[in-house]
C-alpha cells in the first residue's frame, strides 16, 4: 500500500478527521506543556495537510508518551494514541524511530524473544514456598520482570519481588498458578513504537504457549501485559478463550478472603499512601477503583489522592524505552512532588515500569530531596501486609 493511502486509512480509522483544532489536547499533553510544541493537534494537522515526509520524519512523533490524556480530553473522539501508534508503524518501515533508551538494549531483548528457537531461563527466581504448576486453570503471566530485575539491578528495585509476591498472593487464595518457562515479552513496547512485525510474532508465540497450558484465566501483575493480552492480542491472534485479569482485579474480587496484618497490634504506625494510576490500567482499560479498594482494605492505611488522579492521572513520564530525556525527567519529578504534597509517605503503583521510571528519577542526587517518597508495587504491598496463614 502506498504510504499516502496508509496514512489516509489511519486518519479514518482513528477519526483524526474529527479534529477541530481546538487545542484542548495540547493543553493537557504533559510533553506539550514542557517543550512548548503543541504536539497532538499539530501532528494531526500534519497528517491532514503536509507531505508524508514532514509527518513521518518528525522527531516529535517519537516523543509522545501514549499516555492517553489527550484522548481523554478530546471532545471529538479523535483516537490520538492509536493515531500516533499507527503512524509509528508506517514510519518504522521507513527506518525511522525514536532515540532508544539504554542504547536500545531493551529492544534487543524484546526482539530476541521473538525468535521461536529461544530457550529461556526465566523462572530461576522461583523459590521454595512458592507453588506453581505446569498446567491448570490459572496462569500467571509474569511479563518482563526477570529481565528488568537484572537490567535495572543498579536501581536496587528488587523487581522480582513483584512476581514472588504475586505468586504468594495467588497461593494465599488457594491458587496454584501455571508459570510458562517459554513466556515471552507481551510485545507492548514494540507494538507502540512501530515494530508491528516483531509484535505479531510475540503475540502468536505467547498465545500458542498459553493455549498449551489449558489455562482459563490469565493473571498479570503488569498493566501493559494486561492491556495487550486483553485488548490487542485478539485483534491479531483471533478469539482467545481465556479471561485476562489484572492482579488488582483478582484481589478486589477476593477481598473478603484476605486477612491483613494489624499495624496497631504490631506496634506500627499505619501508613499514609497515595496511588499512581498506570496509563494502561486506568485510561486504557478503565481499572481505577480495584487497586484503591485493595489499598483501602489494608488495615489502618489511608489513601491520599493526588490532585490529578484516575482519568486525569499524569503518566510516569516515558513509554516504550524511548526518547526519555529532560521532558520525561521533569514530568517524573513533578509527579513525585505531587505525590509528596499529598502528605503520603508511600507511593503505590501497580506497574513495574512506573516504578522503574520514578526510581530512576529519584536516583539522581540533586533531585532526590524534592522527589523523595517511598515507592512500592501494589502486589508487594499486599503480600507484605497479608497475615500469615495458620
Amino acid at each position: 500500500m502506498e504510504i499516502k493511502t496508509e496514512i489516509q486509512n489511519i486518519v479514518k480509522r482513528t477519526k483524526a478527521y474529527n479534529c477541530v483544532e481546538c487545542g484542548k489536547c495540547s493543553s493537557v499533553c504533559p510533553i506539550s506543556l514542557l517543550n512548548g510544541v503543541c504536539l497532538p493537534r499539530v501532528t494531526v494537522r500534519k497528517a491532514l495537510f503536509e507531505t508524508t515526509d514532514v509527518l513521518l520524519r518528525d522527531e516529535l512523533l517519537w516523543s509522545c508518551l501514549n499516555c492517553g490524556l489527550c484522548f481523554e480530553r478530546c471532545d471529538f473522539d479523535v483516537r490520538f494514541p492509536e493515531f500516533i501508534r499507527d503512524l509509528r508503524i508506517v514510519a518504522h518501515k521507513m527506518g525511522q524511530g525514536g532515540v532508544l533508551s539504554h542504547n536500545g538494549a531493551l529492544q534487543s531483548i524484546m526482539r530476541m524473544m521473538a525468535s521461536a528457537e529461544l530457550r529461556q531461563n526465566r523462572l530461576g527466581w522461583l523459590s521454595r514456598g512458592l507453588e506453581t504448576a505446569e498446567k491448570g486453570e490459572y496462569l500467571y503471566f509474569v511479563g518482563c520482570l526477570p529481565y528488568f530485575d537484572t537490567f535495572f539491578a543498579y536501581l536496587d528495585l528488587d523487581l522480582l519481588n513483584i512476581a514472588k509476591s504475586t505468586v504468594k498472593i495467588l497461593n494465599y487464595l488457594g491458587i496454584t498458578p501455571v508459570l510458562m518457562p517459554d513466556e515471552r515479552c507481551c510485545g507492548h513496547d514494540l507494538y507502540w513504537t512501530g515494530d508491528l512485525e516483531s509484535f505479531k510474532i510475540l503475540a502468536q508465540l505467547n498465545w500458542e504457549a498459553i493455549k498449551a497450558t489449558g489455562a482459563k484465566r490469565v493473571i498479570t501483575s503488569c498493566p501493559e501485559c494486561y492491556y495487550m493480552l486483553k485488548q490487542e492480542y485478539p485483534k491479531y491472534v483471533g478469539k482467545m478463550e481465556v479471561e485476562v485479569i489484572h492482579i488488582s482485579q483478582l484481589l478486589s474480587e477476593n477481598l473478603p478472603e484476605l486477612k491483613f496484618r494489624k499495624p496497631k497490634a504490631e506496634g506500627r504506625k499505619p501508613r499514609k499512601v497515595t496511588f499512581q494510576d498506570p496509563c494502561r490500567l486506568g485510561r486504557f482499560a478503565g481499572v481505577y477503583e480495584e487497586p484503591r479498594e485493595v489499598i483501602a482494605a489494608v488495615e489502618g492505611n489511608k489513601l491520599y489522592e493526588m490532585g490529578k488522579n484516575r482519568r486525569e492521572a499524569i503518566c510516569c513520564g516515558t513509554s516504550g524505552w524511548m526518547t526519555c530525556g529532560t521532558w520525561s525527567k521533569q514530568i517524573q519529578v513533578a509527579r513525585l512532588e505531587e505525590a509528596r504534597r499529598t502528605g503520603a509517605g508511600l507511593l503505590i503503583t501497580s506497574c513495574p515500569k512506573c516504578m522503574i521510571h520514578f526510581k530512576c528519577a529519584q536516583a539522581d542526587r540533586d533531585r532526590a530531596k524534592r522527589a523523595k517518597i517511598e515507592i512500592q508495587d501494589l502486589a508487594t504491598f499486599v503480600a507484605e501486609n497479608l497475615m500469615e496463614r495458620r
Partner: protein
Amino acid sequence: MKTSTADIITALKTKEVYLQFPQIGRGRYPIRKIEPSKCKVGCPIDTDVKAYLGLISVGKFEKALEVVKRDNPFPGICGRVCVHPCETECRRNEVDQALAICALKRFLADYELNKGRIKNEPIKSSRREKIAVIGSGPAGLTAAHDLVRLGYRVTVFEELPVAGGMLYTGIPEYRLPREIIKTEIDAIRELGVKIELNTRIRDLNKLQRQGYGAIFIAVGAHKGLKLRIPGEDEFEGFLDCITFLRAVNLTGKAKIGKKVVVIGGGNAAIDSARTALRLGSNVHIVYRRSRREMPANAWEVEEAEREGVKMHYLASPVQIIGEDGKVVGMKCIRNRLGPPDSSGRRRPVSIKGSEFQIEADTIIPAISQEPDLSWLPKVHGLKISKWNSFLVDQETLATNLPGIFAGGDCVTGPRTVIEAIAAGHLAARSIDRYLQGKPLRDEAKPRERVEFEIPTQPKGKKERAQMRKLSLQKRRSFKEVELGIAKKRAVEESTRCLRCGLCFECAECTPNCDKRLVALTIPGEASGLLLRVPVDYAQFPLSNEPLQGELSWAKGEGYPVIVEPVIAKVRDDLCRGCGDCVEICDYSAPQLYEQENGVKISIIDQALCKGCGVCATICPSSAITMGHYSDGRINRFVEQSLTKKGIVCFVCNWVYNLIEDVEEVAGLRVIRVICSGRISPALILRAFENGAEGVIGIGCPQGECHYISGNETAEQNFQRAKSILRTLGISAERVKFERLSSDEPERFDEIISSFAEAIKKAR
C-alpha cells in the same frame, strides 16, 4: 574529486598531505606520519619513556615504576649513572632543554625506597633447564633476571665477594651508593636468581657437565690498557684505575699519595680523579684532546672541576719519572688537534719542544680497558678478537660454541651500563630460543605502526628540573653528590614532555595530554582513519561536530573528507541530568550545569574528553553519543559481519594495534572501538540479536587501561550483558571479556580459538 581511504594512506606515506577547512578558514594543516618517540628509539633497551613520564605527571608513581621495571631491573642505578642517550635525543632540546628523564627515573626509584620496597615474590620455575651466568655485572644480572622470569633456574657466578661487577667495583660510591646496588640486586635475588660469590669459574666444560644447559659469559672488561711509555710499571705509585677504584670500592682505601695524576678522559678517569680527591689528594687529569672531545659525561667533568681537579687538556704523557723506585713525576707533551681520526674526533698531534713535567707521587692511567681472560683455561675453543674480547654474532650474542653466549663489556670493550643491560636482555632472549630449540635469529619482521598526526607546536619555554647537589664543602667524603628531585618538581618536570611519538606508546591517556583523536572519513565510506591533532584552538579548529574538510597532496587537487572529533557529545533534550556520566568519567569531562529553568544537563568539555566512550555506555537515556564510534556505526559493522554466523570480537584501539595483521580468522569479525569500556551491554545484545554465535571483548590488562579504568567498566558491562543473556538462554560461555597484554600479542589467536571451542561445547 574522489578518493579512497587506501589512497589517502598511500599518499600520507609518500607525499606532503595537507588538511584544509575551506568553509571556516584559510588554515592549512600538514599531516605527518608519526615517528616513534626519539627518547625510546635512542634508548638501547627501548624504555617506554613517554609512558612513565606521563604517569608521573598524573601522580601515578607506582605504575610509572612498573613501566620502568618492565624493561629495566635497575631503575635506581640507571637513574643515577645512565648516560641517558634519551635526553640527547629529546625533542625538547629544540625548544629549550631536554627533559630530565634520568632524574625522573631516579625519582621513581627513590620514591619506592622511601615508601618501603615490597619484596618480590619468587617466581616458580617452570622449566627443567639450568643456566649459568658468569659475572654479576649489569649484563649478567639482567640476563639472569629475564631468564628466571621465563621460568628457568639461573645461577650467577661471581669471583669477587660482592655482586654488581663494574657497578660495584668501578663506579664510586658518591655517584652510586652501595645501598642502591644492594637493593636492586636483592630484588633480583628475591625472584629466585642464585648468586654464588667468591666463585671463579675456570672450566666451561665442567659447567656443562654439571647440567647447565646454557652459559652466558658476562665478565666485563676489568683489565686496564697499557700506556706504552718509558717508566710504566717500573715504580711504586703507578697503579691502574681499575685496580685503584676496585680497592677503594671494596675496602674504602687505596695506596696513593698526595699528588695524583690521572691519565685519560673517560668516565673511569673522572671517577678515579674524584675518588682520589675524596681520599685527600691533589688531583690532576692529563688528557690528550680538548674538553670537547672528552668521552666522559660533560656533567661529571664539570663537577670534577668544581671540586678542584686540575685539568691539563691537550697533553699526552711521554715518560714516567721515578726516583728510588718511586714515582716522582710525569713528563708530558702538549698537543694540537689535527684532522679527525676513525672515531670522528680530531686527532691529537704533538707540538715539538712543548714538553713539560708534572710533579706526582701517584699516577693512575685510565685510558681504557679490555676483558681479563686469565680465568679461561689454555684450551677453550672460543674465538677471541685481537682486543681480547669474545667474538659473537652481534644479533644473537652466540659464541662459536653451541650453548655458550657472551655479552656486555667482555664483547664490546668498556661501554655503558644501559648497553650492558641491553646485552643482558638479548642474551636472555637467545638463550631462551636456544633451549627451546628455536632458531636463534627471529626471522619475524617487526611490525611498523602507522599513525598520523598534525604536529603540535610546543607552547612556551619551561626550565628543566635541576638536581639538588651536595655542597662543595661536603665533597671530601663519599656521600652521594646528587640528591634527587622532590615530588612536586618531578611532576612539574614530567609535564614538559612533548609527547611525541606514536599514540599507543603512552601507558595512559593522561588528563594533561594535549593531543586528541579525530576520525577522517571519506563521505560514503564506513571505516576511517584516525589522526592525532593538537587540543589547541590556535593550532587546529576544534569542533564538537563533524567538519567538512579537504585533503590535498598535489597542486590544485582537493578531496572532500569529514573530520569528526572522537569525543562524547550530549544531546541536551535527551539528557536527564542524572550525573552518571560525571561520576564515571576519569577525566572530569562531563559537568552538570543548571539551565535557566532549573533543569540540569550535562555538558562535556571537549578539551578534557578523551573519547573512550565509557559514559555513553551507561547513559540511561542514550543522550551521549560518540563521535565516529557511534552505536549506529558500530552496529552497522556488526550487521555486515554477521551475514554468516560467527563471532563478534570487539577490541580496544590498543589491542587492535597489536593484532591488526591477524584480523582474518574464519568466522571472526574484529570491530575496533577506542576503549573496551565503550562496549555497552546494548552492543553485545545487539550482536546476539543479529545472530552472533558469541561475543568477545578484548581490552588491556588490569591496571593498564589507557583510559584509567575503562576496562573495569567493560568488565561490568559484560557482566551485565551476561546475566541478561543467561535469562535469554544464552550461556555464559558465549559472552566473554578478555585482556591482552602488549607483551604477548600472539596470545590473541589462542584467546579466539579457546573462545570458539567453548562456544562449540556450550551449544
